[in-house]
């Protein structure tokens, strides 16, 4: 093989490798990007009905219930402007607490009675007492902004994040 052909072969091999990788990346991006929505966005109907996504905010005080089986949980995630009911089967992370930040991943249940019901397959809480999951902090900020601009919607004082450092 002539040097020119050799170089060409190598360049083609390299390009096909890159092309293959690009194809994997694009198709994986299409299917696997997990978008994030705040409770306000979900109540406004902006969240996808079919796909998995994340919702973040604070666990509303007094909203955490446990079913008789001991491992099915339901709670309300709020961004202080709007609330979304969440149901989850499994063990909750150590730092899951009412009045603290939380991020849940899952999808909306179709035709749920009494407003949107988010069925989570994963619940994430923060790593230590001082930090908020960034997504939860973001949702609370957005909620605050929405409340200030929109019609006033009084919030219980215990919903204000403690020690949140967004």
């Amino acid at each position: 093989m002539k040097p020119r052909h050799k170089r060409l072969t190598l360049v083609l091999l390299g390009l096909s490798g890159l092309g293959l990788a690009a194809w994997f990346v694009l198709s994986a991006f299409q299917q696997n990007l997990v978008f994030f929505f705040t409770p306000t966005q979900i109540q406004a109907g902006e969240a996808p009905a079919q796909r998995s996504f994340r919702v973040g905010g604070m666990v509303e005080a007094g909203s955490h219930r446990r079913e008789a089986d001991g491992i099915t949980h339901s709670f309300v995630v709020t961004d202080t402007a709007q609330r979304v009911r969440v149901s989850y089967q499994g063990l909750l992370p150590d730092l899951f607490q009412e009045g603290k930040g939380v991020v849940a991943q899952g999808r909306l249940q179709a035709n749920a009675t009494g407003g949107p019901l988010f069925v989570a397959d994963e619940v994430l809480a923060k790593h230590d007492e001082n930090y908020m999951p960034p997504e939860a902090a973001y949702a609370l900020e957005q909620g605050k902004a929405a409340r200030q601009s929109g019609p006033s919607n009084p919030t219980p004082a215990d919903l204000v994040p403690q020690g949140a450092r967004p």
Partner: protein, 670 residues
């Protein structure tokens, strides 16, 4: 008084590194021997003062000097002493100082073990390392001083994050940093070669053991981090494609490409340009990792306080290092040259493919890590790119790489033969297909698991056969002992590391494909069945540790009615940080790990319990350890110490015309 001494030591170290970064470089440029000869003593002095500063910080932690803000933030009088020492790198300031200590250590090592190098090269390499030190030391002093006083002094400190109170904290960060920072040596060698405008086989021979050493540390650091996450986070995960893990994995991928490309530069004088670029890339990714983890861009156990000034400083530093070295590369790379020619099917071309796949897979990880950050920074919404993306992209890119692992060693340099390689490997291919097919039919495994098994067998059998052939070669003339001695350590390094890859793939395939998990709510006295295993919840006791209270459960695990293990998972409550923690209990075995963790309690007194059976989990760790062992064997190969003294010619003449022996047994590479 003593902490001020530490700060002074840091200032002196900064002064020495400024001198180290300038005088020898100028001396090498003007060919002034007395300036060049300053490099070694300056490197030693810089290490001495960095070590003094670090020692003083450790001392402040051991004696619990809560007048130092950093100590008060990261330790508590209840914290046991070994964790107080480890707490020195439990926060931003101290971990930066640790980074600097490692950098000074590597600089000193280069100064000590470079007697065989020309003085101008030593001067340039040490000067480049000195310039990096200037960046890190000034960052430490101006934005993150670990010795800053707290006025008034705190009566007692905040505690260390309970997740970090573990032996893993003592070993994981130093090992990881040794790896990260170790790539600075390859980087400095690359920059020195660019400045000199000369890169020959001798250069590759000097650079290789340093790169291998850094790679071994990084491998062990990542392994330890993963191993730690596995038992400490409490839920049985061991790799999360978390941005922080990716930050350490990207330099590892490029470092792996680099050690392969260096072997081509050393043996054949090819890939020179490319090797230099990889060395720059590996270190740039190490710095990027530091930036990602330390700037507060990410929030995780690894990200400490977020301070925009710090982030900006690292960003500027990153731009200078990456931009400067790439500009230098663009300017001087043509002088370094491409090196020897080779055919489209040869060991060189296969190693080039290996490099392409490794770098492309690094690129996909980089994209998945940075894309959400970029979207967020430009206010385009919040997304998360999770494990499904990485699994979908990364695994397919690894398939060809795993296929190539067994082919590469059977193909000779310069001009290989497809027919020859197939002839050598068809037995391996047949046995792998039969084994994987047999398991697939009898166990009804999924396509993914079957593919993984096939590749694992292919890599394992191919590597073992290669080693056996190598030992058999020339058995008519020489005894086994003679043949054993004739095989260089670097060859065993390659074989062991490749076997490690096979073991690792086997472990990952089985643990990801066949693990079983069950969550349940259990009262004391109840039991839970998972597969062939029965977990009996026997008792729950109260237990008091040094700085925590715990509920301690006793589980007995039965397999077909026979008692296998007694496990004690705990739920701890750390009193200072007021933080609950899950302490899982694991029974490790050769073919499976049994994993029990406690969740929370229901008002009825029942406990949330998660039990898992993880087949072949230990093989993941074992495979990684074998890879690291391979790196150690290759780095300690005698020829890096002996022949390097002689100035090697532009092309090392290894089998330019393939001989009969070469065709029979391909020469070594790693």
């Amino acid at each position: 008084m003593i902490p001020e001494l530490g700060q002074t030591a840091l200032i002196v170290a900064l002064g020495l590194s400024l001198l180290l970064g300038s005088l020898p470089l100028w001396g090498a440029y003007r060919q002034q021997a007395h300036l060049m000869s300053l490099a070694r003593p300056l490197a030693a002095g810089q290490f001495a003062f960095a070590a003094l500063a670090f020692g003083i910080l450790i001392h402040a932690f051991v004696v619990m000097d809560f007048s130092v803000a950093y100590v008060a933030d990261n330790a508590n009088s209840l914290l046991p002493v070994q964790f107080r020492v480890a707490a020195a790198w439990g926060g931003h300031e101290g971990s930066l100082l640790l980074w600097q200590l490692m950098l000074s250590g590597w600089t000193l090592a280069v100064a000590l073990f470079s007697r065989q190098l020309p003085p101008a090269t030593v001067a340039r390499v040490l000067a480049v390392l000195g310039l990096i030190s200037v960046g890190i030391l000034s960052f430490t002093l101006f934005t993150s001083n670990p010795f800053a006083r707290l006025i008034p002094s705190a009566p007692d400190g905040q505690d260390l994050n309970p997740l970090l109170q573990d032996p893993g904290m003592i070993f994981h960060p130093p090992l990881l940093y040794m790896g990260y920072v170790g790539f600075s040596v390859a980087f400095a060698f690359a920059i020195a070669a660019l400045l000199e405008g000369k890169l020959d086989a001798a250069w590759a021979k000097w650079t290789r053991p340093w790169t291998l050493a850094a790679w071994v540390f990084l491998t062990l650091g990542i392994l330890l981090g993963s191993f730690w996450a596995y038992y400490e986070l409490g839920w049985g995960g061991w790799w999360f494609w978390d941005a922080v893990e990716n930050a350490s994995f990207m330099p590892w991928l490029v470092g792996t490409a680099l050690i392969h490309s260096l072997s081509v530069s050393e043996k054949r004088g090819s890939f020179k340009n490319w090797t230099v670029l990889l060395a720059i890339l590996a270190f740039s990714l190490s710095l990027l990792g530091t930036f990602l983890v330390r700037s507060g861009v990410l929030t995780s156990v690894h990200a400490f306080a977020s301070d925009p000034q710090r982030g900006l400083y690292i960003l500027v530093f990153l731009l200078i290092v990456i931009g400067g070295s790439l500009a230098l590369y663009a300017w001087r790379a043509s002088q370094v040259g491409l090196g020897g020619r080779f055919a489209a099917f040869s060991r060189e071309s296969l190693l080039l493919l290996n490099n392409v796949f490794l770098v492309v897979s690094m690129g996909t990880v980089l994209l998945g890590t940075l894309y959400p950050l970029a979207l967020d920074a430009f206010g385009l919404g919040k997304i998360s790119v999770g494990p499904p993306y990485f699994d979908a992209v990364f695994a397919p890119l690894m398939l060809p790489l795993l296929l190539l692992i067994s082919v590469g060693p059977y193909v000779v340099w310069k001009q290989g033969s497809v027919a020859r390689a197939w002839h050598e490997l068809r037995g391996v291919a047949l046995v792998s297909v039969l084994l994987a097919g047999g398991i697939a039919l009898s166990q009804r495994t999924s396509v993914g698991v079957t593919t993984g098994l096939l590749l694992a067998f292919w890599v394992l059998l191919g590597s073992v056969q290669h080693a056996v052939q190598r030992l058999r070669a020339g058995s008519e003339q020489r005894s086994f002992a003679q043949r054993w001695r004739a095989v260089p350590l670097a060859f065993w390094g390659m074989v062991v590391a490749h076997i490690g890859v096979g073991v690792f793939v086997l472990g990952v395939t089985l643990v990801k494909g066949l693990d079983q998990v069950r969550d349940a709510s259990l009262q004391v006295g109840q039991s839970l069945t998972l597969g062939d295993y029965r977990f009996d919840f026997k008792t729950l006791d109260k237990h008091k540790g040094a700085n925590y209270l715990a509920g301690r459960a006793t589980f007995e695990v039965f397999h077909h009615g026979r008692l296998l293990a007694t496990l004690h998972p705990e739920k701890r409550f750390y009193v200072v940080q007021r933080m609950p923690m899950t302490e899982a209990a694991i029974d490790r075995g050769l073919t499976r790990d049994l994993y029990v963790s406690l969740g929370d309690t229901a008002p009825s007194g029942a406990w949330g319990v998660r039990v898992q059976v993880k087949p072949f989990m230990g093989w993941v760790w074992g495979g990684t350890l074998l890879m690291a062992l391979g790196g150690v064997l290759a780095a300690t190969d005698g020829r890096y110490r002996q022949r390097a003294r002689a100035a090697a010619p532009e092309h090392t003449p290894t089998s330019v015309t393939p001989t009969a022996a070469d065709l029979n047994v391909a020469p070594t590479t790693l």
